[in-house]
């Protein structure tokens, strides 16, 4: 078996140590004897929707995000729509999450989005939403906690029928108002939680690995359990920092 990961704009969308998410996936595959391949797709580069099963996009500086928004719509939107429509996993964090929606307001400019999720990100008066955060999510196996750190100026509102990734226990979430955090649609997950997210929540990393392998091999594999003493302690630490 092989987990095939594609990072979108790894040179531009990486400011919240997004590399940590990739390293975390890689090690957990290697320790289980699952092959791991990782490629990147930068500006202008096309994406083959069948070549990868887990797509990742992180956060970037405003300048980079502006460029990426336009480039992604021009060069990758259809491939990503095909891939996610066909069960591929897409994990979009922070700036990458904002780009999933129909549009994204940056200063005076309204940037185009991928339109893969019913959401819109706008600017509102008030400070950036910054701090430790914990949310409760249910990805089909009962309620679990995700812990992380958020740092965003944009406020994201989900459209009608869109499903939030979780509900805020501590922190601000999508917009600091409606208690919702992130978005989920099939195997697409968008969230403001970085930290990075997966090292703080090993259970989510394993869940995404299993979904991606299921897409490639047809059945969801039983992942071999690992000694997660360090992972559990780190999760507890991140939760405690958020006060949850």
């Amino acid at each position: 078996m092989e987990l095939r990961v594609l990072s979108l704009y790894p040179e531009q969308m990486n400011i919240y140590a997004d590399r940590g998410n990739i390293v975390f996936l890689q090690r957990r595959c290697e320790w289980r004897g699952i092959d791991f391949s990782h490629a990147g797709a930068g500006p202008g580069e096309p994406v083959d929707p069948t070549a990868h099963d887990l797509f990742y996009i992180g956060g970037g500086q405003d300048r980079d995000q502006r460029m990426v928004a336009k480039d992604m719509v021009a060069s990758k939107r259809e491939a990503l729509a095909d891939a996610t429509g066909d069960g591929a996993v897409l994990l979009a964090v922070c700036g990458g999450y904002q780009l999933l929606g129909h549009s994204y307001q940056l200063d005076e400019e309204k940037l185009p989005g991928l339109g893969l999720a019913e959401l819109e990100t706008v600017r509102e008066p008030g400070p950036r939403l910054i701090g430790n955060v914990a949310i409760e999510v249910d990805l089909g196996s009962g309620p679990r906690i995700l812990a992380g750190f958020e740092n965003h100026g944009g406020r994201t509102y989900l459209g009608e029928g869109a499903v939030a990734l979780g509900t805020v226990i501590e922190g601000k979430g999508n917009n600091g108002r409606d208690g919702r955090e992130g978005v989920r649609h099939d195997n697409l997950i968008g969230t403001y939680l970085h930290g990075p997210l997966l090292p703080k929540n090993a259970w989510l990393a394993d869940h995404l690995i299993a979904l991606a392998l299921e897409r490639r091999y047809g059945t969801r594999p039983e992942l071999e359990p690992l000694d997660d003493a360090f992972e559990d302690a780190a999760h507890a630490s991140a939760r405690a920092a958020a006060g949850a």
Partner: protein
């Protein structure tokens, strides 16, 4: 001074004296805080009395060390500037130094975010800018936005200030050009001109990718520390300026320091620097450029730097229970990477690997967001560590990072509290040294890598034990 202002100054001074007498420590910020509350323009009013003018130093990494180097250079000339030497570098730290010290000139390290405000009030004679790396995004925001603020500050200072700027950091070098791309007045550039010191590949936390002029990606011929290196823009032709002060031949000697040949507009000097790593070569280059601008002869500068002692918490060694503990502050990916590179050189001489104590705190002064540890290349030491104790408010997350960097988990221990964790690290280093037997054994030593507030806690602990002076004394 007006009578009203004089009263406020006296009141704030009294508060500082009382704070120190109470022994609760600090006193490096409280008087300034009080004064700024009473008189918001206090920095400008007190700064006006510095008839020799003020030098301000800012950077993400190295500002305390660089300012300390400049202080040493001035001291060699018998000059004693008003200086916020304890590293309290926001407005209240600057105000406190101005309140409590007398002198003809000022020397202030200034927090990146506060540089515009402080410069506005001080009208500095010299502005020394070292680097901008990703650091505490929860507090500073994006680096490019910070660089834009600095560009406005530099433009406002042009004409009455001189500048010492790092040619190798595109975010800093570009500050020396006006919006039309022409060189500003009074700029002295410094940089490294020794290609043998280049990194084998670009690091993960690589921060200045796009041309400050046109937005096109830079091309790097080589990088030395993070994104500091030799770059040019293939689109608009903007490129690294030729440094006026340049290290042309560098030898690094691990924790011992370095030796370099430095070209200056006033001739070449040989610099023996007793501080480790290429990042301290950059700090020294900034100090040499500043020293020249402040009228000190290069040979005098080299002699002063050779006698340098590390700034508080930036490479100092303190003996704890018979074991030397070398303290190296880590606070962001670029700085941590340089510390890790230095430790790798040390580890090459150690068969079993080195002993470490890493303390990760997430208080406001550290940055609440500890994501950055995943951007630092801890992988460098994956087979160089005998034992590591992780401490601090986020100790378990540090331990996890090391596990995923490939460090063997049976060598990683988590003890969050500062005191017992340090004692455990020291005891283990001592035990292994005695097991291996004198005199062939290695000298026991622990490398302590705290974040900023963990460093304060460590320093307090060592002071309480009588092992180190309290930093505010």
């Amino acid at each position: 001074m007006s009578a009203g202002f004089a009263t406020k100054v006296a009141l704030a001074r009294g508060i500082g004296a009382a704070s120190r007498a109470s022994g609760r420590g600090g006193g490096t910020t409280l008087p300034g805080r009080v004064l700024l509350r009473l008189a918001p323009d206090a920095i400008a009013r007190l700064g006006d009395r510095l008839d020799g003018g003020a030098t301000v130093v800012s950077a993400t990494n190295g500002k305390t060390t660089t300012a300390g180097m400049i202080a040493a250079i001035l001291a060699a000339e018998g000059r004693q500037p008003v200086h916020n030497r304890a590293g309290s570098n926001m407005t209240w730290g600057v105000a406190t130094a101005l309140l409590e010290q007398r002198g003809h000139e000022g020397l202030f390290e200034v927090d990146e975010a506060w540089l515009p405000r402080v410069s506005e009030q001080l009208h500095p004679r010299l502005v020394v800018l070292g680097n901008l790396f990703r650091d505490q995004l929860d507090r500073y925001g994006e680096m490019e936005a910070l660089a834009d603020d600095w560009a406005r500050t530099v433009a406002a200072c042009e004409g009455h200030s001189a500048f010492a700027l790092n040619a190798d950091d595109p975010l800093i070098a570009d500050l020396g050009r006006n919006p039309e791309g022409r060189p500003r007045e009074g700029v002295l550039y410094f940089g490294i001109d020794d290609p043998s010191q280049a990194l084998p590949e670009l690091q993960h936390a690589f921060d200045a990718k796009h041309c400050r002029r046109c937005g096109h990606p830079y091309e790097y011929e080589r990088a030395f520390v993070g994104h500091l290196g030799h770059y040019s823009c293939p689109n608009c032709g903007a490129k690294r300026p030729r440094p006026d002060v340049a290290a042309t031949a560098i030898e690094l000697h691990g924790m011992e320091g370095s030796r370099s040949t430095i070209r200056t507009p006033e001739g070449e000097i040989e610099l023996e620097l007793p501080l480790p790593g290429l990042y301290n070569v950059y700090n020294a280059l900034a100090a040499v450029a500043a020293g020249i601008r402040l009228g000190v002869a290069p040979k005098r500068i080299a002699a002063a730097l050779a006698e340098m002692k590390a700034a508080f918490g930036r490479v100092e060694t303190i003996e704890v229970g018979g074991v030397p503990v070398s303290i190296l502050l880590i606070k962001n990916p670029a700085g941590a990477n340089e510390v890790l590179r230095t430790l790798l050189l040390e580890a090459e001489d150690e068969g079993e690997g080195i002993d470490l104590w890493i303390a990760l705190n997430d208080r406001i002064a550290d940055g609440r967001d500890v994501s950055w540890i995943w951007d630092a290349d801890f992988e460098l030491l994956d087979s160089a560590v005998r034992r590591v104790v992780c401490a601090g408010t986020r100790a378990p997350e540090m331990a996890l990072r090391l596990k995923y960097a490939g460090w063997p988990t049976d060598r990683i221990e988590v003890i969050p509290a500062i005191e017992p964790s340090l004692d455990a690290a020291v005891a283990a280093a001592r035990d292994v040294a005695s097991l291996m037997g004198a005199p062939m054994s290695r000298a026991p030593r622990v490398f302590a890598l705290p974040t900023y507030t963990a460093l304060l806690e460590l320093r307090k602990l060592l002071a309480d034990r009588g092992l180190a002076k309290e930093f505010w004394r």
